[in-house]
C-alpha cells in the first residue's frame, strides 16, 4: 500500500511526443491475406495493433466471406462496422473491424462507396449482428445496404428526412465548421426576420449576408469542407 501514496514527480519521459511504434508482427497475416485475396486488397497500412486494407465496395461482401470462412484467417467476429463520410463530392467508406484468434491485431477493411449513389451489399447473411450496424449507418449516413431485410431508420423517427452524420449536415451552431473558428455565438442571426426593423423609419440594419461571420454562406456547397485537409 505504500506505493499508493500521492507522489509528485516530474512528467514521465514517455510523455513526450514520439512516433508511432513499429507495426505488429503481422507478417503471417499479411502473407495469408495476400495469398487468399491478392488483388482485392490494396493500400496496406498498419498501426501498432491494426492491419488495414481498402477494398472496392462491390467486392466487400466476398472479401468478408473469405475472411470469415477461410481456416487460416478465421475472422469469426465482426467487432465493428462504421460509416465514414468524406464530404460532398468525395466518397463514403464502410469500415469493418474484424477479430480472429489466429492473428495478433485487429483487421480493418475499408470499403469504398460512391457518395452520389451509396449502395453496398449487406453482410447480415454473414453476421446477423450486422443488422443494427447497417440500420444505424442507413439512418445516420443514408447508405443503402442491398439485401438487408430491415433497412429502416433506427434512431430518428420514420418521418425524419435528413442524415445527421453526413458532413454537410451542420449543427445549428457548428463551431468546427464556422468561419469564425469556434468563437461564433449560439444565435444564428441569418435566421432572424429583420424585415420589420429594416422597414421601420430611422433604423438601419446591415443584412446578414454582408456579415463577415455569416455562417450560412460559408458552410454550404462543400467548398469549405472540401478545402479542408482530410486524411486519405
Amino acid at each position: 500500500m505504500a506505493d499508493l501514496r500521492r507522489s509528485r514527480t516530474a512528467a514521465h519521459p514517455l510523455g513526450r511526443r514520439r512516433p508511432l511504434t513499429t507495426p505488429v508482427a503481422a507478417g503471417a497475416l499479411v502473407r495469408a491475406l495476400a495469398e487468399r485475396l491478392g488483388s482485392d486488397l490494396r493500400d496496406l497500412w498498419t498501426d501498432e495493433d491494426t492491419v488495414e486494407y481498402q477494398v472496392d465496395g462491390a467486392r466487400a461482401h466476398d472479401v468478408l466471406r473469405t475472411l470469415r470462412d477461410d481456416d487460416d484467417l478465421a475472422f469469426f467476429m465482426l467487432a465493428d462496422a462504421a460509416a465514414v463520410d468524406y464530404g460532398p463530392g468525395e466518397r463514403f467508406e464502410v469500415v469493418y473491424h474484424l477479430f480472429s484468434w489466429k492473428h495478433p491485431g485487429w483487421l480493418r477493411i475499408r470499403a469504398q462507396v460512391d457518395r452520389a449513389d451509396p449502395r453496398i451489399a449487406t453482410i447480415t447473411d454473414l453476421w446477423e449482428g450486422a443488422m443494427f450496424h447497417e440500420r444505424e449507418m442507413y439512418d445516420m449516413m443514408g447508405i443503402v445496404f442491398e439485401g438487408n431485410r430491415d433497412l429502416r431508420r433506427i434512431y430518428m423517427s420514420p418521418d425524419y428526412r435528413s442524415f445527421p452524420q453526413r458532413r454537410d449536415f451542420v449543427l445549428p451552431d457548428d463551431a468546427a465548421d464556422s468561419s469564425a473558428a469556434g468563437v461564433r455565438p449560439l444565435e444564428r442571426p441569418e435566421t432572424w426576420d429583420l424585415t420589420r426593423f429594416n422597414q421601420a423609419p430611422g433604423v438601419t440594419f446591415s443584412p446578414s449576408a454582408q456579415r463577415d461571420d455569416a455562417p450560412g454562406e460559408a458552410v454550404t456547397g462543400g467548398e469549405t469542407l472540401s478545402s479542408k485537409s482530410r486524411p486519405r
Partner: protein, 219 residues
C-alpha cells in the same frame, strides 16, 4: 344507540337554533373556555357556533400539507439522472423520509413527474402524453441540466432544449447529474411550493388567489 352524553342544546326541542341541530363536540363539551379558545362563538340559545366558518380554510391547509408530504413520483427515468434518482430512492439517501418512496408505475397514480435525463424529440411526445395522463394536482421537476436547458447536448439535432418547451416545470434541479442531496433539496423546494400553492398546476384550474403565507403557518 342512544348514548347518554351531555349536550349544550335543549334536549326537548331538537331544533332550537332555527333548523340546525346544536353543534356538539363531545370531548370538549361543557368546556366553554376551550371552545372559545378555538374561536367559536356562544349561541344565545345555547351551544356554540362558528366552527363551520373555520373549517374550509383549515381543511385546504391540511390538504396542502397532505399533498406536500406524500408526493408520489412517477417511475419514469429517461437516462443518466434516473440512476441518481434511484439512488435517491434507495437506502443510502432514502427519500421515503419525505413520503416519496412509492414510485408509481402508472401516471394515473402519480403526483409529481421527475423528468430525469435528456429529453429527445422522439421521446417528447410520449412524455407529454404521460404528463397529460397524470391527474391534477400535479407537479413537474426538471432534474439535471439536460432537462433544464439541454445541457451538454444543447447543440444536438435531436434534443429538446429543456422540458419547459413542452410542459410546465415547477422546480429546476441543476447538475449533471445532480447529487441525490441536490434532488432532495429540490423536493424540499417543491414542498414549499405545494404548501404555498405556487405550483404550475393552478394555471390549468384556477383555485382562487395565490397566497404566499397561510394563517397558522409557523415556518
Amino acid at each position: 344507540m342512544a348514548v347518554d352524553r351531555p349536550t349544550t342544546g335543549n334536549a326537548t326541542d331538537p331544533m332550537p337554533t332555527g333548523g340546525h341541530g346544536p353543534i356538539v363536540i363531545p370531548d370538549q363539551a361543557g368546556d366553554s373556555d376551550l371552545l372559545r379558545e378555538f374561536g367559536m362563538d356562544e349561541h344565545p340559545q345555547g351551544g356554540f357556533h362558528g366552527l363551520l366558518e373555520v373549517i374550509p380554510t383549515k381543511a385546504d391547509y391540511i390538504l396542502d400539507l397532505i399533498r406536500a408530504n406524500s408526493l408520489w413520483p412517477l417511475l419514469s427515468g429517461l437516462s443518466c439522472c434516473a440512476i441518481e434518482m434511484m439512488s435517491t430512492a434507495t437506502s443510502v439517501n432514502d427519500i421515503d423520509r419525505f413520503g416519496m418512496f412509492p414510485f408509481r408505475a402508472s401516471p394515473r397514480q402519480a403526483d409529481v413527474l421527475i423528468v430525469a435525463g435528456t429529453l429527445t424529440t422522439k421521446m417528447a411526445g410520449p412524455l407529454v402524453r404521460l404528463w397529460e395522463q397524470m391527474p391534477e394536482p400535479k407537479w413537474c421537476v426538471a432534474m439535471g441540466t439536460c432537462t433544464t436547458s439541454g445541457g451538454r447536448f444543447k447543440r444536438s439535432y435531436s434534443v429538446v432544449q429543456g422540458v419547459d418547451r413542452v410542459m410546465p416545470v415547477d422546480v429546476y434541479v441543476p447538475g449533471c447529474p445532480p447529487r441525490p442531496e441536490g434532488l432532495i433539496y429540490g423536493m424540499m423546494k417543491l414542498h414549499e411550493l405545494v404548501k404555498e400553492r405556487r405550483g404550475q398546476w393552478r394555471t390549468y384550474v384556477d383555485r382562487g388567489p395565490q397566497r404566499t403565507r397561510w394563517e397558522g403557518d409557523v415556518r
